[in-house]
Amino acid sequence: MQALRGVSFDLRAGEVHALLGENGAGKSTLIKIITGAHQPDGGTIEIDGRQIAHLTPAVAHQLGIACIYQQPALFPDLTVTENIGIRLEDTRPFACVKWTTRRQHAAELLQRIGADISPDAEVRSLSMPEQQLVEIACAIGAGARIVIMDEPTASLTQQEVGLLFAVVRELRQSGVGVIYISHRLEEIFELADRVTVLRDGETVGTRAVKCRTGFQPVAADSHEFAQTDDRQDACPTLTETELIRLMVGREVSNIYPPAESDAGDVVLSLKNLSCAAGGVKNVSLDLRAGEIVGLAGLIGAGRTELARVLFGITPADEGEMLLYGKLVTINSPQDAIAHGIGYVPEDRRRHGVILEMPIAHNVTMAIHRRLFPRIWIRSEAERSLTLEYINNLDVKTSGPAAAAGSLSGGNQQKIALARWLATKPKLLILDEPTQGVDVGAKSEIHKIIRRLAKEGLAVLMISSDLPEIVGMSDRVAVMRSGTIVEILPGGSDSHEVMAAALGQRKELNRRDAETRRTVT
């Protein structure tokens, strides 16, 4: 599959250039190309006007390109000083470690980015943003001129975000070019000078951010403004609504099978459900039989985490779950299965199926108790059941004995689905059911989901594919920062969903809602 086609992107010294796009729009591929981890099939990369023929990670490092990932690649058992030292000093094995200079250097770097971290602290004991700051200190220390930040605020609290932003502004002022990837719109408006939107592997457009409507400019010194204003003459400026339009782009087409069923009884009702370990807070939601509820939101909004709570992998620590009106506790996947909840996980290859095992084994894995009540494997029953699902879901395979790993992505997904259908669930949670699946299989899976709902199953579908969410769902629940912020009717406008997911200002939403109310 082609991840990128025809992307143009430029970064100036001393600017923060935001990179925006839906999940799967090609941001991470672009980053990999810039850091040299992937090689482009065509096109050119220029740094300082010099064309780079073959960008490898080593070359990228020399050129001062540094990338700060969400999960820092630090040594948890070592101190901050040492983490910075090992990264920056050359790796001659017999060099003597000069702890005092090392420590001084680390302290200096930390001070330079305004991080209040003791150089003697063990990285293990630092919070996530503090670890990111250590990474940034490494990047600065290595003389990075281009710093890429991949969703650095995904797991940060508001306060921590403020700290990070101060550092990013510091970087900008010292002439470093920052590529900033984030899903949070307000961050982009607060921080970025320009924004480039990617969609389906293409650049949709680059816009300057500064002249915004409806936003107070961020407190930044005027000197900087003068600088940036000079440079941004070529780019048209941008409003929030326009940005969303750029990201979403296409309109919802009617390729989705129509809803045919009416919602029935409430199957599962969530009341203020929270799980501190999973970062889910105060979720309330009703799921009805025969209804598909789409769970929209950006990566890190807590959708998968909510699914994991419902399925008992990280049990809830607060709130109530009512199954057909009766209070239940789900502390393990076994409990969830016993209560008729199935979960097709997001990471198909690691969690959804066991690649090395035959299809039949995968399909029956969740119903050992029922299919094999006397613990003996009944191969014939297993085989016929598997064949039934293979035919039912139209899996393309040589037979039930083929290893799951030998199937294509779409067919693997059908096997993962079959495993849970075999449990005859009341509620099925689908996490990115069509991710990494080709177009044909995708629409097949959509039809299957629709059919299941028609048969009276409650479906909770997590998806980052907006048209899919909007097209498939009877209701769309939008999550943001671990909680459900809005529940929209099915067939809502993609823009509306995106706006809610991005956390577009509440006033705007409210105004929208008011307009809608006056219209009806």
Binding site: F75, D77, L78, I86, T91, P93, A95, V97, E122, A277
Partner: protein, 311 residues
């Protein structure tokens, strides 16, 4: 302070134990028996330091007991055949180095689990030695016992060699880049790779060093008697691992201090005599040793579970 909590708690327990001994059995501190006891523990100290390196690197080596016997026998045979003693010492160390490097090759290059590889080499060396030597003791020529020194001086030498080694290794581990690489690889091999360190090479070298230290330990053991026992070293690997684990070296890799290992070893060495003074029979020693190891492992497990929950 928190960083050194494990080491300090071991040191505190050791101190408490010594205090107890001072009250209950002041004879424990008579110079000559104490020196003998420390001398007997010196080879173990060398092994424990080596094992500490291996564990910090997130591996394990249980073949050292067998390799220890092989090295001792090689050096003993060489000496008995008339080789000058310094050369015999060198032979022991080189044999150890080769044995360790063989483990390292299998583990680092073929990426086999270290426990199974060293389990296999443990039995291979041991049985090969039995096959070769048939359990016959080797009589050493006069002048090799205690390096040809008077006994007390020899004992001091042995202890001094071990302690100098601990100090030097400690320094290297703390202040030389290569030493820090071991921590880096043990802490997170992937992050180490990203920082330009070659984790496989480090692993290989750690095993090689472990082997060389085993050779040295064998020499320190050999000079303590006029004969070389080819059956020596059984269970030594466990004592060394126990000392390292009790001394605060984390089984999950990346953390540990040699002075902690030193304290851990002293604790294990003193607990036997201490128990006999208190009236516990010596045959309980192994069981108590096993319990101490398990307690240390469980303490590690509880700590990492807590930390895992916090994240």
């Amino acid at each position: 302070m928190k960083r050194y909590f494990r080491e300090l708690s071991v040191a505190a327990v050791l101190f408490g134990l010594l205090l107890l001994l001072a009250v209950l059995a002041p004879h424990f501190f008579d110079p000559q028996p104490l020196l003998s006891r420390m001398t007997a523990a010196a080879p173990k100290l060398v092994l424990a330091c080596g094992v500490a390196l291996v564990i910090i690197c997130r591996q394990i080596d249980i073949s050292i007991g067998s390799l220890f016997a092989v090295c001792g026998t090689c050096a003993g045979l060489a000496t008995a055949a008339g080789t000058p003693f310094p050369i015999a010492i060198l032979i022991a160390i080189v044999v150890g180095l080769v044995g360790g490097a063989f483990n390292g090759f299998l583990i680092a290059t073929l990426r086999l689990p270290s426990i199974v590889v060293t389990l296999a080499t443990m039995v291979t060396w041991r049985e090969a030695l039995r096959l070769f030597q048939q359990g016959v003791f080797i009589n050493l020529p006069p002048g090799t016992e205690w390096f040809g020194l008077p006994m007390t001086a020899g004992q001091w030498t042995v202890c001094a060699v071990a302690i100098v080694l601990v100090v030097v290794l400690s320094y290297v581990l703390k202040n030389v880049a290569a030493g820090r690489f071991i921590y880096a690889v043990g802490s997170d091999a992937e992050a180490a790779r990203l920082a330009g360190i070659r984790p496989q090479l480090v692993t290989f070298l750690v095993f090689a060093v472990m082997g060389a230290l085993t050779g040295l330990a064998a020499v320190l053991n050999m000079v303590q008697s006029p004969q070389v026992d080819p059956n020596t070293g059984r269970g030594l690997e466990l004592e060394a691992i126990a000392a390292a684990v009790v001394g605060g070296v984390a089984i999950s890799g990346g953390r540990g201090k040699l002075w902690g290992v030193f304290a851990g070893l002293l604790l294990l060495v003193c607990i036997g005599p201490a128990l006999t003074y208190v009236g516990v029979k010596p045959y309980w020693e192994k069981a108590i040793q096993g319990t101490i190891i398990l307690v240390a492992i469980v303490a590690d497990g509880v700590r990492s579970k807590k930390e895992g929950n916090r994240r």
